[in-house]
């Protein structure tokens, strides 16, 4: 799960009204019917920031599930620069001896 401020595209000093109106805007832009995954992410971020207490709790105690090693692994794989797999790499991946 990414940083909720980043998901909603909000600055760290956003207040209740800013969070709410941004959430509504994104809900209209990415309705649950048409964009279920995007909406789920928006909603999760909104729940973390929706009022002052939530924001303070998030700042103090949250973030543990913002970054997990899992997600890091995911992103190093996804954004890795290599896409053109060589024949030797194919052999290595498949665990076939030779070459």
């Amino acid at each position: 799960m990414a940083n909720p401020y980043a998901v909603l595209g909000l600055p760290p000093d956003a207040d209740d009204a800013a969070v709410r109106s941004r959430y509504l805007q994104l809900a209209r832009e990415f309705p649950p019917e048409q964009h279920p995954e995007k909406f789920a992410a928006v909603r999760a971020a909104y729940d973390k920031l929706k009022d002052l207490d939530s924001r303070a709790e998030y700042r103090l105690f949250g973030g543990a599930d913002d970054e997990t090693i899992d997600e890091l692994i995911d992103s190093v794989i996804r954004s890795g620069p290599i896409r053109r797999i060589t024949l030797n790499e194919l052999f290595r991946m498949a665990g076939v001896s030779g070459r």
Partner: protein, 760 residues
């Protein structure tokens, strides 16, 4: 009937038994079994089985480096194929894969054999010994791969165009075209090509890991372990090895695991990560920060500091230490670190909007207060337990010296005057130490800011009730009911407040105001507590010198089924408190004496009386003869055990007694009821609860543990709707019998990890 003699059982050889040996890599055994299978019946399936066994054995021996055995097996295969034409293609394939090209072609010159020859050439990276026409295509494919790897896709295309339908390298053409598509993210085209790869060829084997990533159907067809292996392999190639190192770190994340081994891979990973994906460095730092919170030790923090700068929000790692101490139960250290962290927050660090900063400080201060309260509870533990703990820890337990939790709650409230939690905590502390007026002030101050906060309105009602300030209490109850008219509990409080206020006016001699309050309460509320309201109305009539009306009211009340005893009690007590003349009170008191002398009261009569006296306790109604009356009531309730009531009525009675802490009566009655209703888990449970609470801290006896297991057995067998609540209660008692309190560990097939899920 004649019995057959048992015959010796000869294990029948089947294809399955051969497969089983192969699985165990018992190759020679598998071969001999398969040979016997063919001997016994040379059916097609048996022949195929033998061929398959030969093939797998050759592969297996080669893998094990047993060249001689492999060569022998190949010879065996050749011989076999010569006598069985149907098996020639399969054996030829094996020969081809072993490099015996000529023999293979000699046995069966079919496209499949040639494909296997081509595959071996690709694997060996040379084509010596292969037929000439294969050599030419081999050169084309080799060149195409070089072009592909250099990104010259046009040249690849031209080269592959030369490979026709009959080429032995057709599968390599598909593999390469799939790779090209994959490189430009044309996933469907890649899948289309790879789907056509012959399953027993090398190209299919090489494409499998990538195909597993992009082709869901293919992935589903694989065993889960195989798919995971492929994932590992591709991940490493894709991330340039980063994923593997991250996985290595991840294997050490988990409950109770030591983090020490992660720092070496972290150190080796960091420079690469900085070079390739610098944006991941702070993310790794954040992940490790939280890992230390969950499972770290002080040394881990040092390792962390060597590798990473301090986080913006926790420059001195006070918060990290505080959270880590909380998770290991070292609350006293946690308090110290939180205090330090709050002090840092108080220096208005950059990057915190003012409102968020104030709120964060308020939350931390409240948390400190809570922790100190918990510490103090440990300090108040029984002396015996404290001695035992001191012995375990090797030092005496000192009361905490972090100051008074009240102060932290107050400071928290100053920073966040609209947060009700701190106010409630503060209020509850005041009430526990019976500082009613101080508690009232906390509530009033908060309500001045947030007039509709129900948590505080309800608490304020309690404080006012304890102080006997009924009129104000009623005003607050009305306010609460206006905020949430739906709330049944508030409605109940409101009714009690009306009653208390009406009584208060009556005892002051202000009969008009008493009447006014009763009218205001209205008939809808009166029916909710007929005994209390009815008796109040009757006494009011007596005070107003309207004896006839009082008589009517009284007799109406006393005649209502089940209400009699409670009404008698109310009439007698209210008469006394309203200072009626002895003569006026005499009939009521006589009635109460008669009620209490009833040798065979019913359970519902007992319950009515109990409820009434409990209500009087709660409302702090004090009167002469209170203690004796209580004894007599308990004696009468005890007698009701013989009455003809059902299980649930008795449960009510016992529950009410438990709430009033009449443990002795409960244990006597429960013991009797347990024999009367042997299937109910509730009565042994009551008996046990009462005996635990009668003498807390006593070591559990065998009888008690026996009762506990009896109750559990009965509860597990019963089908009551509150079954799980009963089991919960049993667990709580179990915990109470355990001198160190009930700490639960959650397990599974797997259970919830107590260190997880704390963050939300």
């Amino acid at each position: 009937m004649a019995r057959k003699r048992p015959t010796a059982v000869v294990p029948r050889i089947t294809v399955q038994s051969v497969e089983a040996e192969l699985k165990k890599t018992e190759y020679s055994k598998a071969l001999s079994l398969a040979a016997r299978l063919v001997e016994s019946e040379p059916s097609d399936s048996h022949l195929a089985c033998y061929t398959r066994t030969l093939t797998l054995c050759v592969d297996g021996y080669l893998r094990q480096g047993k060249v001689k055995s492999a060569t022998e097996t190949i010879r065996l295969a050749e011989l076999f194929a010569q006598s069985h034409a149907s098996q020639r293609p399969a054996v030829a394939a094996t020969l081809a894969r072993c490099g015996e090209f000529d023999k293979a072609l000699g046995l069966a010159d079919v496209p499949a054999t040639r494909m296997h020859i081509a595959d071996l050439c690709m694997r060996r990276n040379r084509a010596d010994g292969a037929p000439t026409e294969l050599k030419a295509d081999f050169a084309i494919v080799q060149a195409a791969f070089r072009d592909y790897e250099a990104g010259r896709d046009d040249m690849v295309r031209d080269a592959l165009g030369k490979l026709g339908l009959t080429s032995s390298f057709l599968s390599w053409k598909l593999l390469l075209r799939g790779l090209q598509a994959y490189a430009v993210n044309d996933i469907s085209r890649a899948i289309e090509n790879w789907q056509r790869l012959p399953a027993d060829g090398l190209a299919a084997q090489l494409a499998a890991p990538l195909r597993c990533r992009i082709d869901p159907d293919f992935r589903r067809s694989l065993p889960a372990n195989r798919a995971t292996e492929f994932d590992r392999a591709t991940e490493n190639v894709f991330s340039g090895g980063l994923a593997g190192e991250l996985r290595e770190i991840q294997t050490h994340t988990g409950r109770d695991q030591d983090l020490t081994p992660i720092w070496k891979p972290v150190a080796s990973l960091l420079p690469k990560l900085r070079a390739v994906q610098p944006s991941c460095v702070p993310r790794l730092a954040s992940a490790l920060y939280h890992l230390i919170v969950r499972q770290g030790r002080p040394a881990d923090l040092e390792s962390y500091r060597r590798q990473f700068p301090s986080p913006h929000d926790d420059p001195k790692f006070d918060r990290l230490r505080a959270l880590a101490c909380e998770s290991t139960g070292e609350d006293d250290f946690a308090v110290e670190y939180w205090i330090a962290y709050e002090q840092w927050l108080a220096t208005t660090p950059a990057g915190w909007p003012p409102d968020l900063l104030a709120r964060a400080r308020a939350i931390v201060l409240q948390r400190i207060g809570r922790l100190i309260e918990d510490l103090n509870i440990a300090d108040q533990a029984p002396a015996e337990l404290r001695r035992a703990m001191a012995k375990m820890l090797g030092e005496p337990l000192e009361p905490s010296n972090f100051g008074n939790p009240d102060d932290y709650y107050r400071k928290s409230l100053v920073l966040a005057p609209d947060r009700s939690e701190a106010a409630c905590l503060l209020f509850d502390r005041m009430m526990r130490s019976q500082r009613w007026a101080a508690a009232e002030r906390v509530a009033t101050d908060f309500l001045a800011q947030q007039p509709d906060e129900l948590d505080l309105l309800e608490r304020l009602m309690d404080a006012l009730r304890e102080q006997g300030r009924s009129v104000e209490r009623l005003a607050i109850a009305k306010r609460a009911a206006a905020v949430n008219p739906m709330d049944a509990e508030i409605e109940h409080e409101l009714i009690q407040a009306y009653l208390a206020t009406a009584r208060w006016y009556l005892f002051q001699g202000d009969t008009d105001s008493c009447e006014r309050i009763l009218v205001e309460a209205g008939p809808m509320r009166e029916v909710r507590n007929p005994a209390a309201f009815g008796s109040l109305r009757a006494i009011l009539a007596r005070c107003r010198k309207q004896p006839a009306e009082a008589e009517v009211l009284e007799s109406q009340l006393l005649e209502r089924p089940g209400l009699g005893p409670a009404a008698a009690l109310y009439l007698s007590v209210l008469g006394q408190l309203a200072r009626l003349k002895p003569a006026q009170r005499k009939p009521a008191e006589q009635r109460l004496r008669n009620t209490l002398a009833n040798a065979q009261p019913t359970a519902s009569e007992a319950l009515g009386l109990l409820t009434a006296i409990a209500e009087m306790d709660f409302e702090r109604m004090d009167f002469r003869g209170r203690a004796t009356l209580d004894k007599k009531i308990l004696a009468m309730v005890e007698r009701s055990v013989n009455s003809d009531a059902n299980e649930s009525e008795f449960e009510f009675v016992l529950r009410t007694l438990m709430n009033r802490k009449n443990h002795k009566t409960v244990s006597t009655m429960a013991a009797r009821l347990a024999t009367r209703f042997p299937k109910s888990p509730v009565f042994p449970l009551f008996e046990l609860q009462a005996s635990v609470l009668k003498s807390p801290g006593r070591r559990p006896t065998g009888t008690m543990l026996g009762k506990l297991s009896l109750a559990r057995r009965l509860a597990e067998a019963c089908d009551r709707p509150d079954r799980s609540e009963i089991l919960d209660a049993i667990k709580k008692i179990q915990a109470a019998l355990d001198p160190f309190g009930g700490r639960f560990l959650f397990g599974g097939p797997f259970g919830r990890d107590p260190y997880d899920g704390d963050d939300d």
